[in-house]
């Protein structure tokens, strides 16, 4: 047994307390979208860092040492909630005891959320696809931040207005697409809020769950609807292999109606450098532009 004791002492010595405490408030956000928004709201006394870099699927995020340090040193943690961050949700619930943790989606009134499984009252967490809803959640966050007086009134005022304009712009753009063709088809069913907000029919091959697998019948149904309603384009997502949607496209071509691959939409994460979708606003603009180009 003396071996084991020796080893344990070794472990103890080898760990040093990490970086020293500055005076600014440290804010850590889980997804890129939240980080982008918070940076525009808080004043310079805060440092804002994002756990999940661009192009990281929040469901399957695997924490590293640096994410651990970020979380343990953070004063405020802002997360999306409704189990978007998978297992991390339980951890953030526990962290509530020692740190201030906000779950954006869980602050919104229930009736505005889309139910994904009525029996167990589980909601669809992808709220940022409805710009107005996203703005409301940020307003609620703003009022919480005001109590901690870390808010940069001017820039948050500016940012919320720009979100307001963005919302109107999206509504106008989508309205220009003829209603018959206003159908958003992707591999992954994450755009229901977008469909609700801008009265666009949303069809996905596979539900939200990453492990569930669509069947052959789902593919054929999708092909039939596309051919019947002559939907000009279907879209692929950055985090899913395009193969599934290609099968739908080639199915339609064989049926005499060639729908096009309308380009890549950014769903669960912001786009990488130089993709034109580095911030939330750019991402929404990019997505809407791609949709409009495809479905016009």
């Amino acid at each position: 047994m003396r071996w084991l004791v020796l080893i344990l002492i070794g472990i103890l010595l080898s760990c040093s307390e990490s970086s020293e405490r500055g005076n600014e408030t440290r804010i850590v956000c889980t997804t890129g979208m939240i980080g982008d928004a918070v940076r525009n709201i808080v004043d310079s006394s805060c440092t804002v860092q994002v756990l999940m870099g661009p192009g990281t699927d929040p469901h399957l995020f695997k924490p590293t040492k640096s994410s651990l340090d970020l979380l343990s040193d953070a004063d405020i943690i802002v997360a999306n909630g409704l189990h978007l961050e998978g297992k991390m949700q339980d951890i953030l619930e526990k962290l509530k005891r020692t740190k201030t943790v906000y779950f954006l989606a869980e602050k919104l009134p229930e009736e505005r959320l889309i139910v994904s499984d009525s029996s167990s009252g589980i909601y669809d967490p992808h709220i940022w696809f409805d710009v107005a809803l996203w703005r409301n959640s940020l307003e609620l966050l703003l009022s919480e931040f005001e109590t901690k007086d870390i808010v940069d009134e001017k820039s948050s005022e500016l940012y919320l207005n720009s979100l307001f304009e963005l919302g109107n712009w999206v509504e106008k753009e989508i309205a220009e697409i003829p209603s018959k063709q206003r159908v958003l088809i992707t591999a992954h069913d994450a755009f229901s809020y977008f469909g609700n907000a801008y009265d666009m029919e949303v069809m996905g091959l596979q539900g939200i769950s990453t492990v569930s697998e669509y069947g052959l019948r789902d593919v054929s149904n999708l092909v039939n609807t596309i051919v019947e309603r002559e939907i000009p384009a279907v879209f692929i997502e950055s985090s899913i292999s395009p193969r599934s949607i290609q099968a739908v496209v080639e199915g339609c071509q064989k049926r005499g109606f060639n729908t096009r691959l309308g380009g890549t939409l950014y769903s669960d994460a912001l786009g990488p450098e130089g993709s034109g979708a580095e911030t939330y606003i750019d991402m929404v603009r990019h997505n809407v532009a791609t949709l409009k180009k495809g479905l016009q």
Binding site: M52, G53, P54, G55, T56, D57, L60, F61, K62, T64, S66, L205, Q206, G207, T210, S212, E213, Y214, G215, L216, R217, D218, V219, S220, N221, V223, S238, S239, I240, S241, R243, S244, I245, Q246, A247, V248, E250, G251, K254, R255, D268, A269, G271, P272, E273, S275
Partner: protein
């Protein structure tokens, strides 16, 4: 016009089913059937490295990366087993877990880095069975041709190598080359298959058809043929089931059908199946009780020289239990080997003849045991009781000839009906 996607998926799955079943037979016989799962896990580092080098998420870059990683994993598995006392299943578990961990380390490193569009990299190359592309069908045809072609070409060497590696090494077969060839075929089948149908379906297509086929035959040729048959048929059924209703995943349903076919063959296969052995035994028990009833009636009527026998007399003679006796009498009535004579029952012509045969076989076997196998007279009775119901007519004729048309058995009771064999 039949749904084109259905045709592609049917063709794709059937082709993958065939190719992987053939490879599966060889991995099954080399006790390495979990190699499919190991290769599937080992592809991740290859994919992530390829992505890190080329910063592009296209199948044409990631797939070769996966192939190389798969190859490396198989080579390290055979390397570990060859150069140390570690057993194959442990070697597979080691390679699988370490390669996958390396993949995750690279992936999480990439996640922090500036690459950006690496989302979904770990599931990028794992496809779903329901979305089959026409271009892939040609790829599968090519791969199947390579697989079945090479195996056909090297069949005799592979057969020897699989059944007796030591002997093939002894007679100078290039064992390391054959091992390398089999590993390459396995990686080729797994890597192409995974890209279309995903990890678990691929692992199942390698393991289950061969395991199920093993219950029907012992010859390698037949094993391959049956395995391919099972692989293809299960794929087709799985696809059709998943075509019936929405949100019925195609891949998992193929695995479901495969596993049910396997379990079915474990239970029902004529030679080794559990239930078929049980049913056979049950049917034989019924035949045995009926013949015992007839034999008892034959003895009683001979001693008492009366045609009819009382049921109670009958049941005491052989300590039959009532219920079994009743059922047996009903059956014999139906096959008119016995007939009712008011309260009693009597043997019909047909019944009498069958009874005589049973007695003859009994006594012949007693004689055989005693003379040929010098087992004492008092020990032969029980055995004869069992064997009398089994001996087929040809064996019976041979037995009579072998024993020189004997008139009486070791207990000197007369053997009925010997004269009919004399001609």
């Amino acid at each position: 016009m039949l749904d084109i996607n259905l045709i592609w998926v049917l063709a794709g799955c059937a082709l993958i089913g065939a190719g992987s079943s053939v490879v599966g037979v060889f991995t099954f016989l080399r006790k390495e059937s979990l190699v499919g799962d190991a290769v599937a896990h080992s592809l991740l580092p290859g994919v992530v490295l390829a992505f890190m080098l080329f910063q592009l998420k296209s199948i044409w870059i990631l797939f070769p990366g996966a192939l190389i990683a798969g190859w490396l994993s198989l080579l390290s598995i055979s390397g570990i087993t060859q150069y140390s006392k570690i057993k194959p299943d442990t070697a597979i578990a080691i390679v699988l877990s370490v390669f996958f961990a390396v993949g995750i380390v690279l992936l999480t490193n990439v996640q922090q880095g500036t690459y950006g569009n690496q989302a979904g990299l770990d599931t990028f190359i794992f496809g779903k069975a329901a979305s089959m592309l026409p271009s892939e069908i040609n790829l599968f045809i090519l791969v199947d041709l390579i697989l079945i072609g090479t195996i056909f070409l090297f069949y005799p060497y592979l057969k020897l190598f699989v059944f007796d590696p030591e002997f093939s090494r002894a007679i100078g077969l290039p064992v390391r080359l054959l091992n390398f060839l089999l590993s390459t075929l396995t990686v080729l089948a797994v890597a192409t298959g995974i890209q279309a149908v995903g990890v678990v379906l691929m692992a199942a297509l390698i393991i289950t058809p061969a395991a199920a086929a093993r219950f029907f035959t012992n010859s390698l040729k037949a094993l391959i043929f049956i395995a391919v048959l099972i692989g293809v048929i299960s794929s087709v059924c799985g696809v059709m089931i998943s075509y019936t209703a929405p949100s019925m995943p195609t891949g998992p349903w193929i695995v479901m059908v495969l596993s049910l076919v396997a379990v079915f063959s474990f239970i029902f296969s004529p030679k080794k199946g559990i239930l078929s052995r049980y049913l056979l035994r049950k049917r034989h028990l019924v035949k045995m009780t009926d013949e015992n009833v007839l034999k008892a009636m034959y003895h009683i009527t001979n001693q008492s020289h009366k045609r009819a026998v009382g049921i109670t007399v009958l049941s005491e003679a052989r300590r039959f239990d009532g219920q079994q006796l009743g059922a047996s009498l009903k059956r014999l009535l139906k096959s008119n080997e016995i007939q009712r004579e008011n309260a009693d029952i009597a043997l019909t012509e047909k019944g009498n003849e069958r009874a005589a045969r049973v007695v003859r076989l009994h006594r012949l076997w007693e004689l055989y045991l005693n003379k040929r196998m010098n087992i004492a007279e008092d020990h032969v009775h029980n055995d004869a009781e069992a064997i009398e119901h089994i001996i087929t007519p040809e064996l019976e004729a041979e037995l009579v000839k072998d024993l020189g048309y004997p008139e009486s058995d070791p207990h000197h009771s007369e053997i009925p009906g010997i004269k009919s064999f004399r001609k």
